[in-house]
Every structure is written in structure tokens, then in C-alpha cells.
């Protein structure tokens, strides 16, 4: 698989900056045509990883392969990858069309041909007619699209994007990310996308690689990550989660019987042995019912500590035997009063055992 055009592989890659190790050991394979997100908190080594793939940093150890070819020592300008920078890095003294043609001409294309191709690139991102402007004469969203077009006209094996939307406002961000995803699926190139925004990652990715302190914390499809987080860190980072103590009573094949408060649940065991364990519970995993203060079957008892009306939903903080829980009720429209007893029923889904 890794010898195909667009396949990427990191083999035991390490990166030190002086005495500081930004990425201690990275093994990662990316299949051709996928959009893979590197997700993680600031400073976890996402940009470093991306820059090593681009050839802007040299790994201290290990090897990087693109399309089956070892490119570890190949300088950036001889690699078949392009990059969309966080700041866009459009050349401020060149017109939009010259910016897009720049890479084509670097590769030896004749000016006339390159301008033609650049025009097509501009059309691809829906900006035909703005070719003669300078970057400073474009809006933020337009600049972003020029940056994408400039990277795409070279038809790279892999497109790299480093937080490409972080300079846009929230509304635009949503639109542009959909556009990028559509382009990627239409043209079928491999893309590596760095972001620290989990919403963005969930929305665009085929696969998400969550990083922490330079290591891969978990790697899977957006659904896998959301529904079966491997650790508390992932559970909290991908969507919010409450972490609750529980007891695993027994195992049947790959299912575990779990008791939490007054509720009994059957969940994928994920290799966890009987005994005390922990659950990651999404805020929307409960049905919120007015309680009577008694321990009933099939639920958790608690009292409302705070309630915030949000229009389409109500956000509660609820104190109970399991500690304070963050709960979202998307059904009722009248919040329960602070201090009143509630019963939280599991709706099924949104719960996973974690290590």
C-alpha cells in the first residue's frame, strides 16, 4: 500500500530541538486519498510533524516515505508535497495569478502555460476574475482559497494544511472547511490537516490522529474516537466527557456488564478486566427526569447545581454520588430549578469504558 502515489509513512521518526525532544517516536501510515487530521493541544508537536513531512525540518532519526520513496534527506523544494500555511504566506508583491503560477514556473513550466494552469486553479476555488489583484486586496477567506489553489495547481501527492482556518471567523470557518473537504474528495489527493479544533477534525477527516506530547494518543475514524475513546485524555479532548467510576461485574465474549450507580449497562469490554473501572460518559448520554431522591433502578440520582438555558438545549451541572456531572438535555425546554432532585437515565450510546 505504501508504495502507491500519495501514501505517506513515518518510520520511528524522532525530532529534537537542541536538548528538547518535540517528537520522541512516531510511527504512522497514511493511505492514499485520505484526509488525515493531526489533532492535539497546542505544543504537542503537530506542526513539527507536518514540517518534517514538508521537508522544512529534518528528522533527528527515523525515515519518512512519500509514495514509497524515502524522502528523509530530500529538501523541501524537491518533495512532491505542498503546504497551505497558517498565515497563508501569499507573496505580497505578486498578483494572485503570479502567486499561483509561482510553483509551476519553479518547476520549469513556460510562463504562458503556467498562467493558463494558474487560471484553472483559480477557477477551482471559485475566484476566477480576481487574478490581477494583490493579496492585500482580498478578504481573509479569499486569501485562504488562493493559498489552497497555489498549493493544489502543482498536483502534489500530498497536500499539507497547518491550521488553515485559524485566521477566519467562526461562520466562514465552517464554510471553508466544507469546501476543502469537497475539493479533496473530488480530486482525490492525500491531505494531512493540522488543527487543534476537534469540531473541525470531526467534520473533515477520514481519520484522526490525536497527539499528546509528541506521541500518538489514539488513531482512528472520527466515530471510533468519539464512541470509543481510549483514554480520559481522548474522551475529554474529542467532545466533552464526564469520567465516572464504575464496577465491571463480568465479561461475556467481548461485552462487559457494568454497574454504575443504580444502572446496569452492557458495553464493549475493550480488554478491561472485572473489578473497578472508569466510564467516559458524553453530556448527552442521559435522559433527564425529575427525581424523587430515591435510588431507583436504571439511573443515577442527583441534584441540580446549575442550569443554563441555551435555546435549543439546557445545560446542567448535576451533583450526585459520582461527583459533578455535565449534562445536556436537548428535549425539554423548561429548565429544572436549582436544588431540585433529578434522575439521569442512560439513553444508550455515548458511554464507553476507558483504560
Amino acid at each position: 500500500m505504501t508504495s502507491e502515489r500519495g501514501a505517506v509513512e513515518f518510520r520511528a521518526v524522532r525530532k529534537n530541538y537542541g536538548g528538547f525532544t518535540a517528537v520522541p517516536h512516531l510511527d504512522l501510515k497514511i493511505a492514499p486519498g485520505q484526509l488525515v487530521t493531526l489533532l492535539g493541544p497546542s505544543g504537542c508537536g503537530k506542526t513539527t510533524t507536518l514540517r518534517m513531512l514538508a521537508g522544512l525540518e529534518t528528522p533527528s532519526a527515523g525515515a519518512i516515505l512519500i509514495g514509497g520513496q524515502d524522502v528523509t534527506r530530500l529538501p523541501a523544494n524537491r518533495r512532491d508535497v505542498t503546504m497551505v500555511f497558517q498565515s497563508y504566506a501569499l507573496f505580497p508583491h505578486m498578483s494572485v495569478i503570479d502567486n499561483i503560477a509561482y510553483g509551476l514556473e519553479s518547476g520549469g513550466m513556460k510562463p504562458a502555460a503556467s498562467r493558463l494552469a494558474a487560471g484553472q486553479g483559480l477557477e477551482l476555488v471559485g475566484l476566477s476574475g480576481l487574478g490581477d489583484r494583490l493579496p492585500s486586496e482580498l478578504s481573509g477567506g479569499q486569501q485562504q482559497r488562493v493559498a489552497v489553489a497555489r498549493a493544489l495547481v502543482l498536483e502534489p501527492q500530498v497536500l499539507l494544511l497547518d491550521e488553515p482556518l485559524s485566521n477566519l471567523d467562526a461562520r466562514l470557518r465552517r464554510r471553508v472547511r466544507t469546501e476543502i473537504r469537497e475539493l479533496q474528495q473530488r480530486l482525490g489527493f492525500t491531505a494531512v490537516y493540522v488543527t487543534h479544533d476537534q469540531d473541525e477534525a470531526l467534520a473533515v477527516s477520514d481519520r484522526i490522529v490525536v497527539m499528546k506530547d509528541g506521541r500518538i494518543a489514539q488513531d482512528g475514524t472520527p466515530r471510533e474516537l468519539y464512541e470509543a475513546p481510549a483514554s480520559e485524555f481522548i474522551a475529554d479532548f474529542i467532545g466533552e466527557a464526564n469520567v465516572v467510576d464504575c464496577e465491571v461485574l463480568g465479561l461475556a465474549e467481548d461485552q462487559a456488564l457494568v454497574v454504575v450507580g443504580g444502572a446496569r449497562l452492557t458495553l464493549p469490554s475493550r480488554g478491561i478486566r472485572p473489578g473497578p473501572a472508569r466510564l467516559a460518559v458524553r453530556p448527552n448520554a442521559f435522559r433527564v427526569e425529575p427525581g424523587n431522591g430515591e435510588e431507583g433502578d436504571g439511573g443515577l440520582e442527583g441534584r441540580v447545581a446549575s442550569a443554563a438555558y441555551q435555546g435549543d438545549r439546557i445545560e446542567y451541572e448535576i451533583d450526585g454520588p459520582a461527583g459533578r456531572l455535565f449534562v445536556i438535555d436537548g428535549r425539554s425546554s423548561v429548565p429544572l430549578g436549582v436544588g431540585s432532585p433529578v434522575r439521569l437515565q442512560f439513553r444508550g450510546g455515548g458511554v464507553a469504558l476507558i483504560a
Binding site: 529538501p75 523541501a76 502543482l154
Partner: protein
């Protein structure tokens, strides 16, 4: 065939070609005359390296051997880390051999008696010529290409080659000359070692005597120079601060005019102020005559000596202090002053307790700059020195004229160098990181508090007075060229201009003026030197700002240090280093160009680093990921965005090449005479009128050329001008 092999083939072919075609040794009549091509076969001294070696110059055999070894390596080994290591080794060996061979065999055989006794006699050889220089470059490229094959700096051959060549050039044109001063001090006329000259000079009371303190005669020249530098630095700092305060914190009406003052020292040849002072306050100066007529006193020759030099230096260097301090004064965040005022402090208390302490490091910096400038000044002491010179002029007089005592020059140069380098080191080590001045960004609103009245009044008075003085001095310069005989006969005349710049039209156009010769030389050399200086300086700035390589900090430090080497020391070091083989350049235009390039380069470096700091690195990286190599990135992305810095570097190096005198006066020759040296000659002959006329023309020409440069380099177009937008 990969890029590693391609570029290696290229330089190998070049090296072989140079060995077979280019004369190895220096050609007396000049390489670029190309007259040598015809005589080549007949005259063995014109033969290329390969033939020289065949004819028995065994010192060239290792060079051929090394080239052959590289060719063998290219044919047998694949490109990669292992071959890279060998290329580096061969390159280092080659350069080392050229140095050893060049330094040990001179025109008359061995340079050192010891070698002759050990190895027997050897035929003398002339200085390196085109062939040898090209082979040196070949070996330097081997080092960088080898390093690139080993993967250093991400295998970027362009950057590596730039670094290696720069280090080589700086070593040859900055450090080798400085070293030659010290070796020159310990050599006799025949080149043998002797410490006699140094011993005689190092304890010379003319240098070190302190008897002026006890009243027993004049002090030594070292102490007088130090004293002068301290006085000049104090005065320029105080005046510069006064100007800066007036420009930023008063309601003084002529602030724009003040800023104009800062341009003056850049376009004024350094001795011109001294000249104008002579015309104003000298024995038959205008002001002297007025005062003598009014009071009946005999003023005499008070101007000639330290007092006069001091006055001229303060006039010349106050604008520089102003330039430094205006940044400092503006850099004090208004928020601090406003905070102080809200804490019940009045304007005076705020100024004394907050503003002034915040400016202290900046003041120290301005002081050190004034100190170094004064130490290095040569033009004013030459014109006004009279009997009591300073170190820079003493150095000059110890090599020209009757004395001709190189070891004395070397000792004096060492003393001068010690003073200026100490000041430079103090500035770098002690002051760096101590600047409190916090340049307010956008978020930092507020306005600077006005000066308290009790400070404002005297400061404005001082500034107004001094500005008036400056204006009079410059008026003198422009006016002086139009009167018959200054101080005696004030009838208006164009005689001086005609004498200097006359043109005769009968029998075709003839440049009859006495100044034309040196004028055209100056223009040519300045025009050659300016782009080279800007290029080398900005390239270095780019390397320092954008590339990480081992030894970078040391490299940058050494470069900046070369700025603190006074011109006089450079001049003397160049004639000591480049007068004899292996590198012989005295009397050529090349030595002048080299001197300008390496003397003015640090300013280009600084400008380049500062400008590069404002360009986001992602621009370079974007270009790289789009498939451009670093050469193309530099050409297409960085350079166009650096236009303002390029313009500044071009203008600065051009203007400095025209106005400088201290180093130039050692290096000019009958064939290549420079304007400043010629003007000093006029002054020495008492032809003040012509000298002043020539100086005024220079100033006007410089202003014009600055304008032309501005047009040529053009604007950096990042935004469409408003007019075309309206039309669109």
C-alpha cells in the same frame, strides 16, 4: 544524473579549464586589460597553472594532484555522505596548501630564512593571479558541495556555498590585513624577524606621556585621543538628547527641519566641516575678523589643535547621536509616563524619575557610538590638527613622508584598535539586553508628556543656537566656493568651479578641469562598490537571519566587530597585507573596491537582518514547498520585498565610498585617485576655494544620485496606489 554530480562536474570542468588557460600569477599590466593574451606563449610568467607546474614549479603539483583526486572521486564514488566527507577534506587541504605555499614563497624565493636552510633554494614567484584565485574558489566550493552531500543544512548547496565564500572573503579582507599589521610590526625591511621597532615605540613617551597633568609639557597622543573622544562623546550625547527631546516633546515649530539635519553627516565628506570651521574661525576667518575688529583682541591659532578638532567633531557627529537618541526617546512608552502622572508625580518628577532612567541605556549607547566615531575620525584632525595630532593622523604620518616606520604605525594602530574595540565590546556585552525602551505597539496608546518648562527653555535655546551654527557652517561650504580669496577678497567668482570642473570644446570635448580625473575615478569606483556592498551585506544578513549554522553567532559578532575598526587602521592594514605576494593589490582600483565593500558591509548586514525580521519566515518556506530552491526564493520573493533595505544599503555604500577619506588616503595611487584624497591635497596646498567648490559639487552629486537610486530600485508594491483604484 543527480544535482550533486552535476554541480561537481561543473566546477571540476571549471578548475581544469582555469589550470589550462588562465595565467596562474598576477599580471602586472592588469588582468582586465587582456593585453596578456597575445604574449602568453612567449612569456613563462603568464603561463597557466598546469604549465607552470610542468616547468618545474613544484609548489603547484599538490594543486594538480588534488584536482585529479577530486576527478577520481567523482568517477568512482556515488554521491552521498561518504563522498561528501572526502570532498570537504580535499577542499580544506587545497585551501590550506594555497595559503601555505603563497605565504612561504615570495618574489625572491623563500620568505623565511629557516625554510631556505631546510629545503634549499626555490625560484621566486609573483602574487596570485586569476588562475590561483579561481582554484581557491574551486576548493571553497568543494567544501560546501561536500557538506551539502553530507546533508548539512538540509543539503542546501546554495546556502552552504554562500556561507563558505563569505567566511573566506571576510578572512582574506578583514582578518588577514589586521593580522598583517601585527606581523608587520615585528619585521625588518628585509622581512626578517625583529622586535626592535616595537620595543622602541611601545614605550615612546610621545604616545604615553602623562606630563601634561604635572604641567611638564604635552601629553602622549594616546591620552589626548582618549580625552578628545570622551569630550566629543559627551558633547554629542548631550546635544543629541537635546535635539531628540525638542523633536518629540516640545511644541518647537521646526521639527521637520531638525530631522533633515540627520541626513547631513551622511552626505558630508568628513573634513569639510573642519574646512568650514577654518574659514569661519581660523586665523583669517570671517568671525575671527569680526571679533578682532570689535574687541581689538588677537585670537591667534586657537582653532588648530584639540579644541578645533573637538568643535568639528561635535558638529559632524551630533546628528548621528540625534538619530540614535530619537529612537530611544520615542521608545519610552508613553503609558509609563502617564502612569507616573496619575501617581501624583508632576512633569519634572516624571521626567527625572521615569523618563530619564528609562533612556539611560540608550544614552550610554549614543555615548559609545560618539566615542568610536571620534577615535576613528581622520579628516577633521588632518585639517585642524596643527602640531598636535591624534592617533589616526599619527598613524598616517608614520608611514607616509619622512618617518616611514611601519612598526610605529602598527603599535599606534594597535592602541587605537584597543580603544575602539573596548568601546564596541562594552556596547555589545554590557548594553545588550539592557534596553528598557519598550517600543509601543498598536495597543500602546497615549502621548508623550511635554518637557517640563524648566528643562524645555534651556534645551530649546541650546538646540536653536547649535542649529544656527550648523546652518552657518553649511552656508559657508556652499558660499565659499564662489568667492575669490576667502577672508581677504570676497568678490564673487566662478574661477574655482572652472578650475576644478572646466570643459573645453575646441578640438572636441576636453575635460580641462583639475578635478575631473579623480571625480570620474570616484564615481566609477563608488558605482562598482555600492551594488557589491549591498549584495554581500544583504546576503550575509539573510544568512544570519534565516539560516541556522554552527558558528553563526561568532560569525555575526566578528562581522559587526569589523565595524569598530577605524578606517585608518584598515588603510594601513591593507597596504601592509596587499603590497607583496601572495596577494598584491596596492595601486589598483580593486583594492579600493575591496576596502569599501568590507568596510561598509556591516551596515548592509544590519539593515538586512532588521528588514528580514519583518518578513515572515513562512514566505520563504512557502516558496520552498512550491518547488523553488533557495536561490530562486531569494531572487523572486525575498529581494523584491527587501527593496527599501536594498535602497538604503546602496545609498549608504555609494555615499560612503565617495565621502570616506581615512582608509582611502592610504590606498589611492596616481592612476586611481579619489576625490577626497585629492581635496585633502588641495587643502594642504592652501587652495581652499577649489577644495570647497569640489566638496559642494560632491554633496550635490550625492543628493542627485540618491534620487536616481530611488527611481531605479523602485517602490515595493504591496498595495495599489489609491489613484488607480479609483480609476478601476
Amino acid at each position: 544524473m543527480n544535482a550533486d554530480n552535476r554541480r561537481l562536474d561543473l566546477i571540476l570542468a571549471g578548475a581544469v579549464l582555469c589550470l589550462l588557460v588562465l595565467p596562474w600569477y598576477k599580471i602586472r599590466s592588469g588582468f582586465f586589460g587582456f593585453g596578456w593574451i597575445g604574449d602568453m606563449l612567449a612569456r613563462p610568467d603568464l603561463w597557466p597553472g598546469a604549465f607552470q607546474a610542468a616547468a618545474g614549479r613544484w609548489q603547484l603539483w599538490p594543486v594538480l594532484l588534488l584536482v585529479a583526486a577530486v576527478a577520481g572521486l567523482r568517477l568512482t564514488a556515488p554521491s552521498g555522505a561518504a563522498r561528501g566527507r572526502w570532498l570537504v577534506r580535499l577542499g580544506v587541504l587545497g585551501l590550506a596548501w594555497l595559503v601555505v605555499e603563497g605565504l612561504s614563497v615570495g618574489t625572491r624565493g623563500w620568505n623565511w630564512g629557516l625554510l631556505e636552510r631546510l629545503l634549499g633554494e626555490v625560484a621566486g614567484q609573483p602574487a596570485f593571479g586569476a588562475g590561483a584565485v579561481m582554484l581557491g574558489l574551486f576548493f571553497a566550493c568543494l567544501i560546501s558541495f561536500g557538506a551539502a552531500e553530507r546533508g548539512a543544512l538540509k543539503g542546501d548547496a546554495f546556502v552552504l556555498t554562500a556561507i563558505v565564500l563569505l567566511i573566506l572573503l571576510v578572512a582574506v579582507f578583514v582578518f588577514y590585513p589586521i593580522l598583517s599589521i601585527f606581523t608587520g610590526a615585528f619585521q625588518d625591511f628585509d622581512g626578517s624577524f625583529t622586535a626592535q621597532g616595537v620595543r622602541r615605540n611601545i614605550g615612546d613617551p610621545k604616545i604615553w606621556s602623562l606630563s601634561c597633568l604635572t604641567g611638564g609639557g604635552p601629553c602622549g597622543v594616546a591620552w589626548r585621543t582618549l580625552f578628545l573622544a570622551l569630550c566629543t562623546a559627551s558633547a554629542t550625547t548631550v546635544l543629541g538628547l537635546a535635539f531628540a527631546l525638542v523633536a518629540t516633546r516640545t511644541r518647537f515649530p521646526f521639527k521637520r527641519g531638525l530631522r533633515l539635519l540627520t541626513v547631513l553627516p551622511i552626505i558630508t565628506p568628513p573634513f569639510v566641516v573642519g574646512l568650514a570651521l577654518t574659514m569661519l574661525l581660523g586665523r583669517s576667518g570671517t568671525l575671527t575678523q569680526l571679533i578682532e575688529a570689535a574687541t581689538g583682541l588677537e585670537l591667534g591659532r586657537w582653532l588648530y589643535g584639540l579644541t578645533g578638532i573637538w568643535l568639528a567633531q561635535v558638529l559632524s557627529f551630533t546628528p548621528i547621536a540625534f538619530l540614535v537618541l530619537i529612537g530611544v526617546v520615542e521608545g519610552v512608552s508613553p503609558a509609563m509616563e502617564e502612569a507616573s502622572q496619575t501617581l501624583r508625580a508632576g512633569r519634572w518628577r516624571t521626567f527625572r524619575k521615569v523618563s530619564l532612567p528609562l533612556m539611560a541605556p540608550g544614552l550610554a549607547n549614543a555615548f559609545l557610538i560618539g566615542f568610536i566615531e571620534s577615535m576613528a575620525d581622520f579628516g577633521n584632525p588632518l585639517v585642524l590638527g596643527g602640531s598636535g595630532g591624534v592617533l589616526s593622523t599619527e598613524i598616517f604620518f608614520s608611514v607616509v613622508g619622512a618617518q616611514n616606520d611601519p612598526s610605529r604605525a602598527a603599535v599606534l594602530a594597535a592602541v587605537l584598535l584597543f580603544f575602539t574595540l573596548s568601546a564596541f565590546l562594552a556596547q555589545r556585552l554590557w548594553l545588550s539586553g539592557r534596553s528598557f525602551a519598550t517600543v509601543g505597539g498598536k495597543g500602546d496608546g497615549g502621548r508623550h508628556a511635554l518637557l517640563p518648562a524648566r528643562v524645555a527653555a534651556p534645551v530649546i535655546g541650546l538646540v536653536a543656537l547649535w542649529s544656527l551654527f550648523t546652518v552657518i557652517v553649511y552656508a559657508m561650504i556652499l558660499f565659499g566656493g564662489f568667492v575669490k580669496l576667502w577672508g581677504l577678497d570676497h568678490t564673487l567668482t566662478l574661477d574655482h568651479y572652472i578650475r576644478a570642473f572646466g570643459i573645453s570644446l575646441d578640438g572636441g570635448l576636453r575635460w580641462t578641469g583639475v578635478a575631473w580625473n579623480s571625480f570620474w575615478t570616484t564615481m566609477t569606483i563608488a558605482l562598482i562598490a555600492a551594488p557589491l556592498t549591498a549584495g554581500v551585506g544583504l546576503l550575509t544578513g539573510w544568512l544570519i537571519a534565516r539560516q541556522r549554522f554552527p558558528g553563526k553567532a561568532a560569525f555575526e559578532f566578528a562581522l559587526m566587530m569589523s565595524f569598530a575598526i577605524p578606517g585608518t587602521v584598515i588603510g594601513i592594514s591593507y597596504i601592509m597585507a596587499f603590497n607583496l605576494p601572495p596577494i598584491q593589490m596596492t595601486g589598483t582600483a580593486l583594492i579600493l573596491v575591496a576596502c569599501f565593500v568590507f568596510r561598509n558591509m556591516p551596515v548592509g548586514v544590519r539593515g538586512g537582518v532588521a528588514a528580514m525580521a519583518q518578513l515572515d519566515t513562512s514566505l520563504d518556506e512557502a516558496s520552498l514547498t512550491l518547488g523553488a530552491n533557495s536561490g530562486r526564493t531569494l531572487r523572486r520573493v525575498i529581494l523584491p520585498l527587501l527593496r527599501p533595505a536594498i535602497l538604503a544599503a546602496l545609498v549608504y555604500s555609494f555615499v560612503r565610498a565617495i565621502t570616506s577619506i581615512s582608509a582611502v588616503i592610504f590606498l589611492v595611487s596616481a592612476k586611481y585617485n579619489m576625490a577626497t584624497a585629492y581635496i585633502v591635497g588641495l587643502v594642504e596646498n592652501g587652495q581652499y576655494g577649489v577644495a570647497i567648490a569640489y566638496s559642494s559639487v560632491l554633496i550635490v552629486v550625492m543628493v542627485a544620485v540618491i534620487g536616481i537610486f530611488q527611481l531605479l530600485v523602485g517602490e515595493r508594491r504591496l498595495r495599489r496606489p489609491a489613484a488607480s483604484e479609483a480609476a478601476a
